[in-house]
């Protein structure tokens, strides 16, 4: 490829970088604006003065701090459980020959296409009867259900690439089966499991529909749902900077994961969805 066309591709890449970061930049601008910038009548892109008050205000509100704890706890538990369950299934899919394999993969596909909004009515009613409405477990269960297809596909794609014979080879060389598993298979499987966990976490972190349908107090309400309930410091003040400050906070984990594990996330997304 000529140097000139290389430069054109780099410029095109730069445009995409701007595309991706521009709304993020706008979010940061709003989060650091004083509330008075919003009612000024002539809104600007940049803040007239930079302030950290919105973050202090947001972290002083139990509505947000509780929601943040709920979001982190629920997403982590749901991710952990789905990945464990998916690990069993993916191992069976990658290594064993059994009749239910096709059925399971087709079911996962059907669940991935399922309209979740069709479930909020019955779940709302069922959860109230079971006493798990507005609790962590009431959200963890549907998150697991809808995260599982993604977890199973991604993990079984990774597990298929593991050279499982190496476990046997290590045993021949004198390792016990536990040593062979711990020293050979775990290091080979860990990156795939970890990548799957990231994608599953994104999925749980993102949910809004179940979070507003199956919660009513800050007992289990997650951040995306809480954002819809935010008010300004007073009736006359806009809630915009606070909502944006809270948004910045929930975007930080996403940005960190993306920055650190970019390569793995791309591999996971492409292998899980369309196998090469």
């Amino acid at each position: 490829m000529s140097a000139r066309s290389t430069r054109w591709w780099t410029i095109a890449g730069l445009v995409i970088v701007v595309y991706s970061f521009f709304p993020l930049l706008w979010m940061i601008m709003l989060a650091f604006k004083p509330a008075s910038d919003i009612v000024s009548g002539k809104p600007q892109f940049l803040p007239t003065s930079w302030t950290f008050d919105n973050f202090t205000e947001v972290f002083g509100q139990p509505l947000f701090t509780r929601a943040l704890i709920n979001s982190i706890g629920i997403a982590l538990i749901a991710t952990f459980l789905s990945v464990i369950i998916a690990m069993f299934a993916a191992y069976a899919i990658a290594r064993l020959d059994f009749p239910g394999k096709k059925v399971l993969l087709s079911l996962a596909l059907a669940i991935a296409m399922f309209p979740q909004a069709a479930l909020v009515g019955p779940l709302f009613n069922m959860w109230r009867n079971l006493g798990i409405y507005d609790t962590w477990i009431g959200l963890i269960i549907p998150y697991m259900t809808f995260a599982l297809p993604l977890s199973i596909w991604t993990l079984s794609a990774f597990f298929r690439q593991i050279p499982w014979e190496m476990e046997h080879a290590a045993q021949v060389d004198g390792a016990t089966s536990w040593q062979a598993f711990r020293k050979v298979i775990v290091p080979l499987a860990a990156p795939g499991v970890f990548t799957t966990a990231i994608l599953t976490f994104f999925f749980c972190w993102n949910d809004f529909l179940f979070a507003i349908s199956l919660t009513s107090t800050d007992n289990a309400r997650t951040v995306p749902a809480a954002l819809a309930f935010f008010q300004g410091a007073s009736y006359f003040q806009s809630a915009v900077p606070y909502i944006m400050a809270a948004s910045v906070v929930v975007t930080i984990p996403v940005v960190i994961l993306v920055l650190v594990f970019q390569r793995r996330i791309v591999a996971g997304l492409t292998s899980g969805a369309v196998k090469g």
């Binding site: 490829m1 290389t6 591709w9 780099t10 890449g13 995409i16 970088v17 991706s20 709304p23 993020l24 706008w26 979010m27 709003l30 919003i38 002539k42 809104p43 600007q44 789905s82 369950i85 069993f88 299934a89 191992y91 069976a92 064993l96 009749p99 239910g100 399971l104 079911l107 669940i111 296409m113 399922f114 309209p115 979740q116 909004a117 479930l119 909020v120 009515g121 779940l123 069922m126 269960i141 809808f146 599982l148 972190w205 809004f208 995306p224 954002l227 806009s238 915009v240 944006m244 929930v250 975007t251 996403v254 920055l259 970019q262 390569r263 791309v266 492409t270 969805a273 369309v274 090469g276």
Partner: protein, 310 residues
């Protein structure tokens, strides 16, 4: 004689161990996948049947004693109500517009990802930001960008006090924009997976034969990645069809921007009209089945790769 006998005995016992190993493998496979079956079906199959049952009743949570069997009447009411058809049209509009634009834009992104040499890592990192960001956050960010009191868009475009959310089509424009921004990276990664499969030597041979870039795109690149395109299209179409977060945050369904998922939510959760709400849920489910069926049977989308069959 004895040797033959022994050999026969030996092979019989060999067969027995093989089949018992196979049986063990089958049993293990069943046990290992059982939790997945339970978790996936628990929250979908039973509630769906329950919704089907509730949809045949006139049932409000505010008046549980007044529950009466009405047969299919709820469906009749919904399908003759302009609200349903309005929401249907809105959902259809959003789906067609966003998926069409995302497909073209996503292909361009995928192509840049394939060709770029300098700054490849930075670009791939950047493209994952919209993918990972919370949909509600994206909706708020775009909403405030277009809002009269906080936004920069009206100032930059010299639109004065134009209220983007005061009218159906301009509100849908912003909703589509937020949706497209967030999901194009996902579609572009799916397309990239297909794009790398297109044989490079075929491209070069065509170039030597004098084919233009445009001809190569239509005659070589696109036909060779048809499977990836169809899969991306199916997933994104169903995803867009279920859209909920963006209209909820941006307009709350005002000015005819309500979607079908939103209607199901409003009937079930806001109005606690579980009979009617369940009927909407069932209709939503059937519409998704219909779309999936069209893709798989009519467009012959090959899902074996997605399912991971070998």
């Amino acid at each position: 004689m004895t040797t033959i006998d022994e050999r026969a005995k030996h092979s019989a016992s060999h067969r027995a161990t093989v089949s018992s190993r196979l049986r063990g493998e089958r049993r293990l496979g069943t046990w290992l996948t059982l939790p997945s079956y339970v978790v996936m079906l628990l929250v979908t199959a039973y509630p769906l049947v329950y919704a089907l049952f509730l949809s045949l009743y006139n049932y409000r949570l505010t008046d549980p004693a007044g529950r009466t069997f009405v047969g299919l009447r709820n469906y009749g009411v919904i399908l003759t109500d302009p609200v349903w058809w309005n929401d249907f049209a809105t959902t259809l509009f959003i789906t067609v517009v966003t998926v069409a634009i995302e497909l073209v834009l996503g292909f361009m992104f995928a192509y840049v990802m394939l060709r770029i040499i300098r700054g490849r890592g930075l670009m791939r990192t950047a493209i994952l930001i919209p993918y990972g960001i919370v949909t509600v956050v994206s909706a708020f960010v775009w909403r405030y960008g277009f809002a009269i009191d906080s936004g920069f868009v009206n100032g930059w475009l010299h639109l004065g006090d134009f209220n983007w959310f005061g009218e159906r089509w301009s509100a849908l424009f912003v909703i589509c924009l937020s949706e497209i921004w967030k999901t194009t990276p996902f579609i572009s990664l799916l397309l990239l997976a297909g794009l790398v499969q297109v044989p490079e030597d075929m491209q070069e041979a065509a170039q030597v034969d004098g084919a233009t870039a445009w001809q190569r795109l239509w005659k070589i690149t696109l036909p060779n990645m048809k499977a990836a395109i169809m899969v991306a299209l199916l997933f994104r179409t169903l995803d867009a069809w279920r859209i909920f977060d963006n209209p909820f945050v941006m307009t709350g369904g005002a000015n005819n921007t309500e979607t079908i998922s939103f209607l199901a939510y409003r009937q079930n959760v806001t109005l606690v009209n579980l009979g009617m709400g369940s009927a909407v849920s069932v209709l939503l489910f059937l519409s998704v089945v219909l779309i999936a069926w069209i893709f798989i049977k009519v467009f012959k989308t090959d899902l074996s790769q997605v399912r991971g069959d070998e």
